[in-house]
Symmetry: C2
Subunit: 349 residues, 2 copies
């Protein structure tokens, strides 16, 4: 049981199982897209020399592998699902970084800054297509049936569309002074929840689990995503910077419409009203100094936005765990799902 | 039989059948992507007011509908396939226009120039996902089986990956002085042939045709694409401009590595050598005047590049028609496939 709750071990197993298949998929890309993709995954530097990059935490592949185990098949049967969700996740990172103008990701220069926008678009498109390809390849490999591969593609496709909807909503929020809590939750559910939902069900779907239980696994992943995002939104304001140990106020600097802000604005009362005034004020927009940001953070806290978001993370976490109860699975797999949820939600930065 | 060979009628039927389903799919997109997509398809202007646009020739939907008829099912059963290939085609147009910096398409401003690069990326992604969604929706609509929808998604996914490979190759050619005839054919086969191949088989695949006959229908579409592209390459140099009636030299002005150029360079001899010299000369690059372009066109013709490409178009057209012989289908459907091939290959501009 101690071993079963070893989350780094869970993530490592998923990475070890999925990375070779992921690399093989990337090798299929026409040059120079293969080289660009290897750079993006952290396997090589910009010149193509191998590096020691880890390519991210592998939470999605780990969920996919667990969902295969939940359905009673070996971990290996979840691998096409794990690789597919990782490909779709990285398709969205490549395109989002370009759309958002983000210049670094995982402490490295983003693809569009190194290889240009066209390669970021193209390689993103190619990874999206590869995701479906890998799922459908699992039929010929004898890991699933055509029927179940089709079901998995359908669920992944719907998740991908939600992912795209979420990015569209996120971009549209930039042009607005405020968004409601409901709009914020919908956007975050689309942008983060939908693909975690597909990750937590895909291995089981490939193994032929019924739709009702697959839906329950999706709910686990979806609410886990919302819990993760609530924590992320808290850390985006009050998370400590590595060097100074002070709150980083990063999301406030970027005027991000995150949950604590939306909740504070919805609360009403003097602190809420004052916050709304400050956010609507065109003066200093984008040039707020540290002190002004600290005032806003204090107003959000005073209006209850911080406490509400922390409660929301707990609620979403509890909803995720409750969904697991609707699925028949071995006790140690259930414990691993719970441990992974704990890992995703309890973070320092 | 006269009615069967009425190509505008064929295209019109496909457009009439597919457009409502295409519009319904676009309606699913989150704002503002739905509006952007409607503009792209020519249904509205930039402000969202309805327009009389036709949204393209509908060759791909027409092929999809024909392939359903070839498999002995009603035209309606080919509609999800026709809509899916049209969605994937338009995904590639949205992204290619942005990557290539093209500012007009079908005599209208391209999406990225009107709504910005982020919307062109996002809506392209969304149309890509919708393509698979529409195929898989056909199961619930009773138009195909989960098994055959999975086969159709697999073939469309592979075609889409080739499409992306082709665009990657096309972009990489821009940085080179010359490409071989084989490289040029491979790029054009990927960029144009692969999706026409999927279009010509998808309706039949949804109807459960066996893989051998589906492959033959794909070969018809693939070689039809190469024939189309050879003609397009000829028109790109010697096609007459609408106003003056003179050769437009457009592809020479853009230094496009098209088939006539590749064939002329491969031919050897004095004209071929002189052409190679001119193309390698960095002087005046991109600023050639009409007379210099006319000299190049004459050298390509003298080296045999024009005649070779015209022969190649005929060869590819013949190969396409020969592939049809491997598929059992009603005589009038075969005649319609042949008429559509004639229509695609015989063009004035």
């Amino acid at each position: 049981m101690v071993q079963a709750l070893d989350v780094p071990g869970l993530l490592d197993r998923a990475r070890r199982l999925c990375t070779p298949v992921l690399r093989e998929a990337v090798n299929r890309l026409a040059p120079p897209m293969d080289r660009v993709a290897r750079y993006h995954f952290g396997w090589t530097d910009a010149e193509g020399n191998p590096t020691e990059g880890d390519g991210g935490k592998a939470v999605r592949p780990a969920l996919a592998v667990l969902s295969a185990l939940a359905a009673g098949v070996p971990a290996e049967h979840g691998v096409p699902g794990g690789v597919a969700v990782e490909l779709v996740h990285n398709f969205s990172l490549l395109h989002d970084d370009l759309m958002d103008g983000d210049e670094t990701r995982r402490h490295r220069a983003t693809v569009w800054t190194v290889f240009g926008p066209a390669q970021a678009i193209l390689v993103g498109d190619a990874l999206f297509a590869l995701g479906n390809e890998v799922l459908l390849d699992a039929v010929a490999a004898g890991l699933t049936t055509q029927q179940d591969a089709g079901r998995a593609v359908q669920r992944l496709t719907l998740a991908t569309r939600k992912l795209i909807d979420g990015q569209a909503q996120d971009l549209s929020f930039e042009h607005r002074d405020r968004v409601t809590v409901e709009e914020c939750l919908e956007m975050e559910g689309n942008k983060t929840g939908a693909l975690l939902a597909a990750s937590a069900s895909v291995g089981a779907v490939l193994a032929g689990i019924d739709d009702k239980q697959a839906d329950a696994l999706e709910r686990y992943g979806y609410h886990l995503g919302l819990a993760f995002q609530a924590v992320d939104d808290l850390l985006g304001i009050w998370g400590e910077t590595e060097v100074t140990g002070k709150p980083n106020f990063g999301d406030l600097r970027q005027r991000k419409k995150s949950l604590p802000v939306a909740a504070a604005l919805a609360a009403g009362g003097p602190a809420s009203d004052r916050l709304a005034e400050l956010l609507a004020d065109p003066e200093n927009r984008g040039h707020e100094d540290e002190e002004q940001l600290a005032v806003r953070a204090a107003l959000i806290e005073e209006a209850g936005g911080r406490a509400w978001t922390a409660d929301e993370a707990r609620r979403q976490h509890a909803t995720a765990l409750a969904a697991l109860d609707e699925v028949a699975m071995p006790a140690e797999v259930r414990a691993q799902f719970a441990a992974l949820a704990e890992f995703v939600v309890v973070r320092e930065r």
